[in-house]
């Protein structure tokens, strides 16, 4: 069993040689490209992250900008709408006043017209009434006349009339 713990120093020499050569060769052929790739990737990740962060900040700025513009647009829109509403109200008032005035004028003319026509109609009516009554009186008189009695009557009436209305006296004319 002592073979188990009796080191063969030739093998130690082999081990050291082997290992040192491996370190020298692998550092060039394996670990260097590996670490190169890893560092490349780490750098790429860092770069990507950085650019993503920049893009995000930019987007946020853009968003804030847009929101601000939107707000100002909205404010302007509101102002314009208010303005338009006021203008419309003013216009309506104006139109209403105009209409009222026009209506008043129309009513006035119509009233005047009616007055005139009424006056005219009254005049016409009175003339007709006068004429009719004269004609009617004429008929009645024509039927009832008894020359003598009527002459007396007429004389009497005339006398009365002359008494009543002295200015109608024939003699005085």
């Amino acid at each position: 069993m002592e073979a188990l713990i009796r080191p063969e120093f030739g093998l130690t020499f082999w081990t050291i040689t082997c290992f040192v050569l491996l370190v020298l060769v692998l550092s060039k052929t394996a670990w260097k490209p590996l670490m190169h790739a890893v560092e490349e990737r780490e750098r790429a990740i860092k770069h990507d992250r950085h650019s993503a962060e920049t893009a995000r900040a930019e987007a946020e700025k853009l968003k804030a900008d847009l929101e601000e513009r939107m707000k100002s647009f909205k404010a302007e829109l509101n102002a314009r709408a208010e303005e338009a509403r006021q203008a419309a109200r003013k216009e309506t008032d104006l139109l209403l006043a105009e209409a009222r005035r026009a209506a008043a004028v129309i009513v006035e003319t119509a009233t005047k017209e009616i007055e005139t026509q009424k006056a005219e109609a009254a005049r016409g009516l009175r003339e007709k009434v006068a004429e009719l009554s004269v004609l009617a009186a004429e008929r009645i008189l024509l039927k009832q006349i008894d020359h003598r009695a009527n002459t007396e009557l007429a004389a009497r009436y005339l006398g009365e009339l002359e008494k009543e209305r002295p200015e109608m006296r024939l003699e005085n004319n």
Binding site: M1, A3, F9, G10, L11, T15, C18, A30, V38
Partner: protein
């Protein structure tokens, strides 16, 4: 054939032939072959996976990447600071080298190279070298040794503390070496013991052996899963402790 022979057959290295390099006798053995396979996987498969852009290999690439990033963010940088990131290649290689050698030990016909004291000693020695190298590089030669002793101790304690700290450096390294070795070998021994139970009870009678077999196999499977966990865990622990020791050498306060 006793348990001893079986154990030695499965756990101990088999040297096939020797080569001489100056005063050193270099063995060509089973564990060296396993280490070679692990190195080959690291040298060929890993760069292939990492450099390929095919979607089929993407999950494997992600696995390697997750582990390397874990080593960077949880092991190297917290213990060694941002200057330590330069050592990431060392720690990634260390982790995967140990991990693959551990995992090869769980494959049929494989052997655990990290279950060999000589191999873990080699790894621990590289850690020892890294600790001192980074400490001296970071602080300067004299400042490094001067800062080994904690600040604010009485003057007469300085020398004994220096000796203790210096010894501590070696003990840390030795502990690293033995921890990995023991962890990797323990699971194998337990598995062999559970399998041997079948034959031990079988010697009382065939029926007893057959009765024990399902229990033994169940326990072996459980131990195998535990070994899978330990394979990852010990690779992590080795890398983590190396990072802690190196970080302490770089920043003494």
């Amino acid at each position: 054939m006793g348990l001893k022979e079986i154990l030695e057959h499965h756990v101990v290295d088999h040297v096939w032939t020797w080569a001489a390099l100056g005063p050193l006798r270099l063995p060509f053995s089973k564990h060296l072959l396993m280490m070679g396979i692990a190195s080959l996987i690291l040298l060929v498969v890993f760069p292939l996976i990492i450099r390929s852009r095919s979607a089929a290999l993407a999950p494997f690439r992600a696995m390697i990447e997750i582990i390397v990033l874990f080593l960077r963010d949880e092991v190297v940088v917290p213990n060694m600071g941002h200057k330590g990131a330069a050592y990431l290649g060392y720690f990634s290689t260390l982790f995967f080298f140990i991990l693959i050698m551990n995992l090869i030990g769980l494959v049929p016909f494989g052997a655990t190279a990290t279950g060999n004291l000589a191999v873990t000693a080699g790894l621990a020695l590289t850690t020892f070298a890294l600790i001192n190298f980074s400490g001296i590089k970071e602080q300067g030669f004299f400042a490094y040794f001067a800062h080994m002793v904690p600040k604010g101790i009485p003057g007469w304690l300085y020398l004994p503390m220096f000796v203790i700290e210096l010894l501590g450096l070696f003990i840390k390294t030795a502990a690293l070496c033995i921890r990995l070795f023991a962890n990797m070998i323990a699971g194998h021994i337990v598995i062999l013991v559970f399998i041997s139970f079948i034959f031990i009870f079988g010697s009382f009678g065939v029926a007893v052996g057959l009765g024990v077999a399902p229990v033994s196999v169940g326990l072996v499977l459980f131990t195998l899963l535990l070994e899978l966990l330990v394979a990852f865990l010990q690779a992590y622990v080795f890398a983590m402790l190396t990072a802690i020791f190196t970080g302490a050498a770089m920043h003494p306060h």
